[in-house]
Symmetry: C2
Subunit: 408 residues, 2 copies
């Protein structure tokens, strides 16, 4: 018995049957004596439909009005879910972001949560109501509606769990936990019972797409007990914690891929101080997130800098750098969108230098060419040709978890 | 130059093209130096679609959650309209009911406006923004979303016009003004340049469906200059005022019909005081609105009471009365849904007793049977068989406006 926050994604509430299923999960949890706050995304394609409607009228609509439009999606799913719970005979109330007191900054389309003013949620829980809260949205200091951007509903759920000191925050999704690799892709992928925040963070950042990194970061900061679990299977999911009790036998906890990246290379930069600062502060000022950065020695008295960005930012980044060619001073800019990032993550690899070598060996055996390598304490990432991505994940996974690996 | 409130109904914002048309009307008004507040309904069938979604999940959903659901419709149309105005290059902001400060009582599904806290609208107008406000919705003292029920968006527009002391409140619709009869039905129906609040009220109540009576009542109380005008034709509409300057030549200003009614008759009631009170307080307590009431002498020591309700309330009213048969004391209850009400309205008829007689003559000449008659100072209503409705409107209109009437 305790306070449980349950988050349901767009797939989990896509139609009337699925909403009834979500209502069943919520009321079963409530029935066991728990207080329950459910955080919902918009139904399936609602957000895409609304974006399409907007594009037909004004492809360059302001972000303020886009947020006004898009925030209706969660309001609809939450009201419908509350109705489904009413039909089961339980006390329930749905709350929008502003009603729930979700205060954000003014970054329309990608707002950050500042605080939760939880009086209303608290009052409804005191009345023994099940509380359904719209994910993905809040209001800023002008009382205007904001949305939280990618992974926003996960972040809403974790923020509410943190503010309300919930005992558990369950992220219901269409997969039944965190796997050692994408189970739709890798046949012998294994579900993890537990994983640390840091490992989950690396996996999220690396495109595992189970949990968004913003929500994991927040969960780590406020020590929220997270669980990733399926809305469909009824099986236990994967727990995400500060420290995991059972150490996984393998050194790595997963293999992830990210096809949504592009690589830019600036060739022939002057070999003088301040160059990297000029490049990356320029990109940051225009909200272009840079992932891997590599600097190498170029020809003559020059150097080259390569880095990756999200594919959608590639053209903007290229244009921006070209406009500032004279102030930065480079000879050539080269872009490549035909690449993907494949990574292994695991807290165990810090003390096992052989892990990276095993990964490279697997790729070599598979005849897969590596373009860039980047490492941290708990991960190794490589860039490969995009058409090699899925095969790379498979051969790496086989290397660490395959039948011929006596460790498992 | 002044402050103009413009209301656009669901048909006027039904798709992207029509929203662009609305944006053009609004910006042309703004361009002439006016401050503009636009009040919008939900797009075409949005509300019906949402009601259908809800019915699939819970046909008996609470009104609180229904309002939460339905209020998204106007939020969508307002955000889209703001985007269309942005595309034309004008400053604009959309506001929901709660952002606009539309405070209502807690009657979910049929809330009454209590006051407009107009600081936000005022501040946006001061910034020279065009302000788009969601019609049909507000919030109650619990900060919960409410909807205003039938004709709610007209009422929102008039309430905003009253609170902001607007110079004019234009109700844009798919007809281009108030006619002497439904122009889709009666060939020689004439558009009125002006009409009084009282006449409009009778016409609205009688099912003319151009303006809802709640909005006309409010306009009369706060002396808001109203205009009913087409979003499509570009022609001047009909002005609704306290006193009209040019007296219409005819004694009546219009013929209206209402097919959405049913008649109930309680037969064999005791002829003693308090019977009518018991019946109609019971119906009022269950929010069943009664329109025409007639009491007649029955057989022996009894009396009969007949009254009309909205067709949708007929079954509820019947059930309610049957449950209370013993306390009310009647012999029989008779219902008839196969009827309609046809009415003539005109301030001029007070001093012309021949007007009602002319109406009855027209119906007699047309071979149309009259079931009930009810009169007030400025209207005469009759109940006829539903299949006679349209012909009744035509013959009455011919009588007062036809070629053979030398008055016109």
């Amino acid at each position: 018995m305790g306070l449980i926050v349950q988050k349901f994604g767009g797939t989990s509430v896509a139609n009337a049957d699925r909403i009834r299923n979500v209502a069943r999960i919520i009321t079963e949890t409530y029935q066991k004596g728990n207080s329950v706050i459910a955080v919902l995304s918009a139904q399936g394609d609602t957000t895409d439909d609304l974006i399409e409607k907007a594009a037909e009228i004004n492809p360059k609509a302001s972000k303020r009005e886009m947020d006004m439009l898009l925030s209706t999606g969660e309001q609809i799913s939450c009201a419908l879910c509350a109705m489904a719970i009413e039909a089961l005979g339980y006390p329930v109330i749905s709350l929008t972001g502003w009603q729930a007191g979700m205060k954000t900054n003014s970054g329309y389309g990608n707002a950050r949560i500042k605080r939760l003013e939880a009086e209303r949620i608290g009052a409804e829980l005191d009345k023994k109501s099940i509380v359904i809260v719209t994910g993905f949205q809040g209001i800023n200091k002008f009382d205007d509606v904001t949305t939280l951007g990618r992974g926003g509903s996960d972040t809403s759920a974790v923020a509410i769990a943190a503010a309300m000191h919930a005992d558990l925050c369950q992220i219901y999704t269409d997969v039944d936990g965190v796997y050692t690799a994408d189970p739709r892709l890798v046949k012998n992928a294994k579900k993890l019972e537990e994983i640390t925040f840091d490992e989950m963070l690396e996996l999220a950042t690396l495109g595992a797409q189970v949990l968004h990194n913003r929500s994991v970061e927040m969960a780590k900061r406020y020590n929220v007990n997270l669980e990733v679990i399926s809305s469909f299977s009824g099986q236990p999911g994967t727990k995400v914690k500060e420290v995991v009790k059972t150490m996984e036998k393998s050194h790595i906890s997963g293999v992830a891929k990210d096809k949504n990246i592009a690589r830019l290379a600036l060739v022939g930069l002057a070999d003088e101080p301040g160059i990297a600062f000029r490049i990356f502060s320029l990109l940051a000022k225009h909200s272009i997130n840079v992932d891997i950065i590599l600097q190498s020695i170029g020809r003559g008295n020059t150097k080259d800098i390569s880095f990756t960005v999200q594919k959608t930012d590639m053209e903007d980044a290229k244009k921006l750098l070209e406009e500032n060619r004279s102030s930065i001073g480079f000879q050539e800019i080269d872009v490549n969108a035909n690449i993907a990032k494949v990574s292994i993550v695991g807290a165990g690899m810090i003390n096992n230098p052989g892990v990276a070598a095993n990964m490279f060996e697997a790729l070599y055996d598979g005849g897969i060419n590596i373009h860039m390598i980047s490492t941290s304490e708990i991960k190794v990432s490589v860039l490969v040709d995009i058409e090699d991505t899925d095969r790379a994940v498979q051969v790496i996974h086989d290397k660490f978890y395959g039948e011929f690996n006596s460790d498992r």
